[in-house]
């Protein structure tokens, strides 16, 4: 068996439709992911994350290149690949006409789990995902959030070595999300490899051991959080809270050309790419002759890095 959970070599996916220019959704990606980690695929909408996951999970055939899961080629050995993966696709995927429990048991049957194990695991997951009161209800009668719970719970029914999660936390409340994140971490400690896409960057920051940022079907940056922060050296987050919001503050913020900015109530939140020595200078300028209640200066978050790298790539392309 390969030491890598995932090996991708010059992978390309082109969508061609009549009368329209072909779209290169994935454009020559190459990377490897070792087993037993949480690997994050980050990128803005349309970056190619879902297309990449669809190819890796044998849903879509690549146009060029190769991809292997634990040494098995997704095109040449799709069944071997499917035996080793579980997927939470982006859309809610549940059996609407079946009950919560039957959803879990039917999934287990597809994955070849024996009945006793399936029932035991289903009962445990129903508790962990707080599905107890709904267990015998048809999923079509549940809310979107509960449907998503059922969908995500299914992948914990089995022990497939590789897990694909496409925006897994969509529709989950913060408490459940926290529980699922803990479960994911526990699965990785057992040796599973998790490939996840997310737009919630704090989630990736907390969960991922290794991150690949992609945009327009291409790789932009790869590494753990610290490595990526180095790529984005000189990005600082500044938060200033005033007793009341100054009249001309928006113009002052715009003059600083921030990577991102937000104004909420009496506070401003900026991400700036500047030299370290200038940070206090900016804070002083924004505070001058104003009653400041709170000042915070932090290093770059994953969100800053993400915005900086994806917009930089956009600028370079132009």
């Amino acid at each position: 068996m390969s030491e890598f959970a995932l090996e991708v070599e010059n992978l390309v996916k082109v969508y061609a439709s009549r009368g329209k220019a072909p779209i290169r959704a994935v454009d020559g990606m190459s990377f490897r992911v070792p087993s037993g980690i949480i690997f994050g695929l980050l990128g803005p909408n349309g970056a190619g994350k879902s297309t990449l996951l669809r190819m890796l999970s044998t849903l879509t055939l690549p146009t060029e290149g190769t991809a292997k899961i634990l040494g098995y080629d997704v095109v040449k050995k799709p069944i071997e690949v499917r035996k080793r993966i579980s997927s939470v696709i982006q859309a809610t995927a549940v059996e609407l006409l079946l009950s919560v429990k039957d959803n879990l048991l039917t999934y287990a049957r597809f994955q070849g789990l024996d009945k006793a194990t399936a029932v035991r695991r289903a009962d445990a997951l129903i508790g962990e995902f707080q599905l107890g009161p709904e267990v015998d209800r048809k999923v079509q009668d549940l809310s979107g959030g509960f449907r998503r719970r059922v969908q995500v719970a299914k992948v914990f029914m089995v022990d497939t070595p590789v897990l694909f999660l496409d925006e897994f936390s969509t529709g989950m409340d913060p408490i459940l999300k926290r529980q699922v994140m803990n479960l994911l971490r526990a699965e990785v400690e057992k040796g599973r490899t998790i490939i996840l896409t997310t737009q919630v960057l704090s989630e990736a920051e907390e969960l991922c051991d290794d991150i690949l940022i992609i945009n327009r079907g291409k790789q932009i940056a790869r590494g753990d959080l610290n490595t990526l922060k180095l790529l984005s050296e000189g990005v600082y987050e500044i938060t200033l809270a005033f007793d009341h919001l100054p009249d001309n503050i928006q113009a002052e913020i715009a003059a600083l050309s921030p990577i991102r900015s937000a104004i909420e109530a009496n506070a401003i939140d900026l991400a700036l790419k500047i030299e370290e020595s200038r940070v206090m200078e900016v804070v002083s300028a924004l505070s001058r002759n104003r009653h400041v209640l709170r000042v915070e200066v932090r290093g770059a978050s994953l969100e800053d890095i993400f915005v900086e790298l994806t917009t930089r790539e956009g600028r370079e392309l132009k």
């Binding site: 669809r54 999970s57 044998t58 849903l59 879509t60 069944i79 499917r82 035996k83 993966i85 579980s86 997927s87 696709i89 859309a91 809610t92 995927a93 549940v94 059996e95 609407l96 006409l97 079946l98 039957d102 039917t106 049957r109 597809f110 994955q111 070849g112 048809k138 969908q151």
Partner: protein, 251 residues
């Protein structure tokens, strides 16, 4: 094999949530025969060109073929439901071949088709006095099974290639009209105008009906029935191969 049984299990579970649907599946051909068949038999009598049998006997094969056609169309429509639920795409990542998915989906419905045929034959014999060719019963049930599967694969091609269920519904309505009425389902082909008869002879549902009629009440020429049976088998296999191809192209 376990993948196939998992798909059958899933279909069975889904169908078991709606007992009215199962009841209708089982009794639909029987009720059709008892209402429509008896009505025509009483009002119009036996049509010409079918030998020494009444309309009830003649219509038996037609109603069984109609039932297999209806089950196939309903089963293929479930692709739309699965696609809307998102489960369709998730299922394509499960450890099974595309062919197993298709075969599993139809297998449970083949069992329903065989059960409804057995029920229709038994009640037809008991209530309407239809004289059946009991030794040919296994061939009749095999015809029902292959008929249901063949029509399901045929419909699956359209259900997998068409994304909008309103378009699919329009197409199935046209199919219902064309396949059922340009065939030997309701009337024999012999007295019909030549163009109509030719269309009927080229219609795969005629091949299925003629097989079912021969194996149920013994009407027909053995050699031409054998030829029609072989043609329907080829039609079913070709539809299966094409449907698997369509399933592999789902993105």
């Amino acid at each position: 094999m376990s993948a196939l049984s998992a798909v059958v299990y899933r279909e069975m579970k889904i169908r078991a949530t709606n007992l009215t649907f199962i009841f209708w599946d089982l009794f639909f051909p029987l009720l059709y025969m008892l209402v429509f068949g008896v009505g025509v038999n009483s009002a119009l009598g036996a049509p010409t060109g079918i030998g020494n049998v009444g309309y009830n006997e003649f219509f038996l094969a037609g109603v069984l073929a109609m039932a297999s056609f209806a089950i196939a169309s309903n089963t293929s429509w479930s692709f739309f439901l699965d696609r809307d639920n998102g489960i369709f795409y998730e299922m394509l990542t499960y450890p099974m071949r595309r062919s197993e998915y298709l075969l599993g989906k139809v297998l449970f419905n083949v069992l329903i088709a065989v059960a409804q045929a057995a029920l229709t034959l038994a009640v037809g014999r008991a209530l309407l006095g239809i004289r059946l060719q009991w030794p040919k019963l296994p061939l009749l049930l095999a015809g029902m099974a292959i008929g249901t599967a063949g029509w399901f694969f045929f419909y699956a091609i359209f259900a997998l290639r068409i994304r909008r269920n309103d378009i699919f519904n329009s197409i199935t309505s046209v199919f219902y009209f064309a396949f059922m009425f340009a065939s030997s389902m309701f009337y024999p082909l012999e007295p019909l105008p030549i163009w109509f008869r030719r269309a009927g002879l080229l219609n795969p549902i005629t091949w299925e009906i003629d097989w079912l009629r021969y194996t149920s009440i013994g009407i027909g020429n053995f050699h031409s029935i054998l030829l029609e049976g072989a043609a329907f088998l080829i039609f079913s296999l070709a539809c299966f191969a094409f449907a698997v191809r369509c399933l592999k192209q789902q993105e």
